[in-house]
Symmetry: C2
DNA sequence: CTGAAAGCGCTAACAG
DNA sequence: CTGTTAGCGCTTTCAG
């Protein structure tokens, strides 16, 4: 292990000068600097980040909270893409990413304590159970925190334009001629609220009366919950002509369930997802969905977090990322005669 | 920021005693320990890992190298599951996971230097371009390194039983009556070699003569490459009755390509994948494949790495993880008359 | 059982 | 421009 003292000795100068030369301080003569840099490389010097952090209080480390009740964690189709964005952007800015857990060195602790022990510079929260008091504790701490897909007053948040998302996809369904549409919604979070707002807005604009029947609860992204929701829709009778699911996986499992009941998609019932992840393209026909810009969601989160770290201003701004309709093959005009008699043009 | 000195002052003892009490050293009286522990909690003391690491040379941090040429990174269906395993196991043992990159604090550096600056305890490598000289440098360093799905002499490695994997799936195809089977192989790595060995072993046992035609090269897991491979197989004529792909995604894109040419799967041609990831279940019909135990692959890697860290013995052992045949709906007996005349029982 | 002292590797005033 | 000095927060001998 070669230290700045070794370099100092080899160069016949003090460790302070070495430190300055290595950190590009202006008050070192070009000649000395050159000699030091050369010697450092020669000796294979690698600065010790821990020692530096002890003084500077900067670790170049961003903590990422990334777990959920369903334990899909990193394998979550949507969030893994988001995380990739977080990672890429952080790395570009020179920050490392470390996952925050409740155990460090064999000692149980809260997320916040974990961050403090590691002296993490900031935190990005995604895919987590936001009701966990430990998450709240973290959000209320002095650390720079940015959440993805969650909105609260005291931290930064990056969200997709969920209102527009559901508005657009519903409008699309309506433009195909659908009137009897069900939105299967997930966790009762702010995101869900927004989506329902978008859903109702589209209905309102088309003067389609809203009814409670149009909303069916399911959990987020779990196979069984989606299947259950579809079973429920089938059992209660009077099938809708279109179903919008809260995410692509839910849509795909939903389609499988519909098909297992002999219901054809899209002939008998149109289906749309939400997310626009790759699996939507892998199934046949390609899933109709709203694409969220997962990569940007992640990158923006990193960027905001780093900004908060570097400016030391923790203003709780919210950033909204646009969404985009993907016209796949799982939605088509409904069979109903009245619609066939007066078809609408696609807008 | 409360330090051990604050506690010492509050307790009327020295910082050394506080340190000992906090770290469960035996040479502290029960009474003093109790007082210190109580005060520490009261003051909200959080130990500083950096300061400790400076002395103990242990950071409780495992570096993870996780990138690839295709930049799918964390969104890679197979490796994201593996990584989840790495993460879970590491967290259980009290280690944090930090991604290794080529940039730290805005300074370009090699992977090894990154590890050294952070004083990472060990490294798990997955999903990486193993030809990168920087990866080699890392593997040849003094750090404990474990690789997943890659074998080399000087580090630990965790791999699926690839020989058996391809052997079993080929045997399964043969048992269905297939003789004209193609294996689309990926990157020419050790893994591919092993798989081809398993493939040939199954052919040999069934006395099916091997021909170079039975091997078609494609890259690993990229959509276009898989499509290309299928196009090639179709164009050269004389379609095989079964195709085995190197991973599930490749199989799914392959099936899509076959279908786009009017070739029915499994009626006209049987298809199998390799990996057993969830998407295989989402498509219709369910993909026939070999399941790799991704979670164990990851957990075992973490465990080996931690073992090397804690025992300080870096023996380059290899661990093989079992695989399991998933009989989906994309493989069935071929149409050929001679096979229909003398059907084989499924073994 | 307890504490004084040294030091992990580095930075940051402040003199010179 | 360069060096001295004093820590960052913690652990670890080694006396007492």
């Amino acid at each position: 292990m070669v230290t700045i003292y070794d370099i100092a000795k080899a160069c016949g100068c003090s460790s302070a000068t070495v430190s300055k030369a290595l950190n590009n301080y202006p008050d070192v003569s070009a000649k000395t600097r050159e000699k030091i840099l050369k010697k450092a490389k020669e000796l294979g010097f690698v600065p010790n980040l821990q020692a530096r952090a002890l003084i500077t209080n900067k670790t170049w480390n961003i903590g990422v909270l990334f777990e959920d009740k369903s334990h899909s964690g990193l394998t979550h189709y949507f969030f893994s893409q988001v995380l990739q964005g977080v990672k890429e952007q952080a790395e570009e800015k020179g920050y490392d990413i470390t996952f925050i857990s409740k155990n460090l060195g064999g000692v149980e602790m809260t997320y916040l304590e974990h961050c403090n022990r590691r002296k993490i510079d900031g935190v990005v929260i995604a895919c987590i159970d936001f009701e966990d008091p430990q998450v709240t504790e973290l959000m209320e701490s002095d650390l720079p925190v940015v959440a993805i897909d969650f909105i609260t007053s005291h931290i930064g948040s990056i969200v997709s334009d969920n209102v527009k998302g559901l508005y657009e996809i519903t409008k699309y369904m309506i433009s195909l001629g659908h009137k009897d549409i069900v939105y299967v919604y997930g966790h009762e979070t702010h995101v869900t609220e927004e989506r329902i707002r978008g859903f109702r807005k589209a209905l309102d604009e088309a003067s389609i009366p809203f009814s409670e029947r149009m909303l069916v609860k399911s959990k987020y992204s779990e196979r069984e919950d989606s299947e259950e929701a579809v079973e429920y829709i089938i059992k209660r009778g009077n099938l809708p002509t279109a179903i919008i699911f809260p995410d692509d996986c839910a849509a795909i499992w939903g389609i499988k369930t519909l098909r297992s009941h002999g219901i054809k998609v899209p002939e008998d019932i149109s289906v749309a997802g939400f997310d626009g992840v790759e699996i939507g393209e892998m199934v046949y026909p390609r899933l109709t969905t709203m694409r969220q810009d997962t990569s940007r969601l992640g990158k923006e989160a990193s960027l905001r977090c780093i900004q908060m770290i570097e400016t030391k201003v923790h203003n709780p701004t919210m950033t909204t990322i646009g969404v985009e309709l993907i016209e796949g093959g799982t939605a088509m005009p409904p069979r109903e005669k009245d619609v066939i008699l007066k078809p609408k043009k696609k807008n």
